[in-house]
């Protein structure tokens, strides 16, 4: 117990976050293995994992680096397509899914990171609204390019085309033709390797990497830039370098989430990764509390499940969704209401359990 009290405040906070994810995982295992889980519930598990990873990774850019990025779905798109193509191509050569699937994550994540680097170099010179606008544009550009890519192989080798006209001009050897990416039709033969075990493993990896990053020399430099760029420069912190590190790592995990997403569905189309998806990820981050990884996770879970749970309301579904969003935001920021919760549930000390302020007081003095 003494050990726990002496533990760093941030370490304690992190442990609670890991604990929440672990609890969610155990709940899922128990719920599905006992056969109580509905078909709907099973179908939601992987999308929830995808969105949690996206929310955590975007929080690195928005909460820790303090820059508003609206192109997160674009990086996810890159990861999804590259990962799927890799899996299709390697399906015969690497038969073991235990080797192929992790490799697909690495390849998908790395390619998203490369695109993140290419986008980040010019874009991170901008700040605030301008950065948001340009990242939004880049997200759309990536989506539209991928939407027009055709990739196929035959006995003569690899054929690559952008635009349906140039694709139709290619003459294939019909017997050995294999289509990987079919333009707007996307990818249809990705092996369905994703399941929630892989999803939760990836959530843990993402959390460990990002939380460790935040609580290290690099994370301190990134947050210093967020809090005061001029002062960060004055103590010798290289602004461009650390902004890029945060942005690229964020893009990497968006790519990883994309690979998980791509291997969950029988068909993968680029139009899914549009501006609405980027905004949805941003909503997870904002609603969960900017900079709070735990908040992002909870918000991503609730907001992914909510539209499905509201399906019974049919036409009024999205209306209810919007109302719930607004109510959640109002409630989160209502001081009078917080006072009442304190009054009613004060004995339970919910606040103390879940906020940094509570755990700090035990540690100091």
């Amino acid at each position: 117990m003494k050990n726990l009290n002496n533990m760093n405040k941030s370490t304690k906070k992190n442990m609670v976050t890991y604990g929440i994810v672990l609890a969610m995982f155990i709940f899922c295992v128990v719920y599905t293995t006992t056969g109580m889980a509905s078909h709907l519930f099973r179908g939601l598990l992987v999308p929830v994992c995808v969105n949690v990873i996206l929310a955590i990774s975007l929080n690195l850019t928005v909460g820790i680096l303090g820059e508003l990025s609206l192109g997160h779905a674009g990086f996810m798109c890159v990861g999804a397509f590259v990962g799927s193509v890799f899996s299709m191509a390697a399906e015969e050569t690497i038969t073991s899914v235990w080797i192929r699937f992790p490799l697909a994550f690495l390849v998908g994540g790395a390619s998203a990171a490369v695109i993140g680097l290419l986008v980040g170099v010019p874009v991170l010179r901008l700040r605030g609204d301008y950065l948001a606008i340009v990242t939004l544009a880049f997200g759309e550009i990536i989506k539209n390019i991928v939407n027009n890519i055709y990739l196929a192989t035959d006995v003569n080798g690899i054929h690559f085309a952008i635009g349906v006209e140039s694709y139709n001009n290619i003459t294939f050897d019909a017997a050995t033709k294999r289509v990987y990416i079919n333009g707007a039709m996307g990818i249809t033969e990705t092996p369905n390797d994703s399941n929630y075990f892989v999803g939760f493993a990836l959530i843990f990896i993402t959390l460990i990497v990002i939380l460790n990053l935040v609580h290290s020399r690099t994370g301190r430099a990134i947050m210093a830039i967020r809090d005061n760029r001029i002062a960060a420069e004055s103590v010798g912190i290289n602004i461009t370098k650390y902004k890029l590190i945060a942005f690229v790592i964020s893009a990497f995990f968006a790519g990883v989430a994309g690979v998980l997403y791509g291997h969950n569905l029988s068909s993968l189309v680029a139009t899914k990764f549009d501006y609405n998806y980027s905004i949805l990820i941003l909503v997870f981050v904002v609603l969960g509390g900017i900079g709070s990884m735990r908040g992002s996770i909870i918000a991503a879970v609730i907001l992914t499940a909510l539209p499905e749970l509201l399906r019974g309301l049919s036409d009024y579904r999205m209306l209810m969704y919007a109302i719930i969003l607004i109510v959640m935001m109002l409630v989160n920021n209502n001081e009078t209401l917080q006072m009442y919760t304190q009054k009613w549930f004060g004995g339970l000390n919910i606040k103390k359990l879940f906020t940094a302020a509570g755990s700090k007081k035990k540690g100091v003095s």
Partner: protein, 253 residues
Amino acid sequence: MTAMLETKNLGISFGGLKAVDGLSLKIEKGRLYGLIGPNGAGKTTAFNLLTGVYKPTMGNFFLDGEKLTGHNTIEINKKGIARTFQNIRLFKQLSVLDNVKAGLHNGHKYSTAEGILRMPAFFRTEKEMDKRAIELLEVFDLAGEKDYLASNLPYGKQRKLEIARALATSPKLLLLDEPAAGMNPNETQELMDTIRFVRDNFDMTILLIEHDMRLVSGICEEITVLNFGTVLAQGETSKVLKDPEVVKAYLGD
């Protein structure tokens, strides 16, 4: 003996306005040097030139004999000039301890990968950083507040934390921009003692901008008076402050 800081005819003009015009000064190692002048005289602009925020349009400056003109802020900090700001610029959402540790960024290194993978270098270096940061905080009597958010510190302590953060970069020359602004007489007195302590114990050369004449006459050994970007008077503090030109610049005719 070469001076710790030497500026030769340093100046910058914004359009037609010569904000600093031909500033030449020489600060010996270990000196406490003051830069004073009425509002708008170009004092802070001079600091911005010395820290690479602005590039001088004329003249040069040298730290310990090395020419630093044209270098950027990060390079200049690595060469050994650290500063504080007139309007406090702390890392508000970081703890007091982390503010100082951000200052130790270039002095204590390990790679991003070592940090993510929690390699031995991470634990070793972080421990060193903690130790060094707490030593620095103790000098400024801030060690008790190390876990507070920087923005929750009272004003006077925020000023001290800025100095501690600047010292963490282990500079040769420390530039303080109005360190006593907004402090009451007791706090100012305490600050004067701290500045002297820093000079003596950290073997530091200090150049400061200040309006509080008690502080200037109390601790500065030499001063330069700026007015409308040009040097009005220079030399030993007590003599310069009696100079009729200086009195006129401050009080008018």
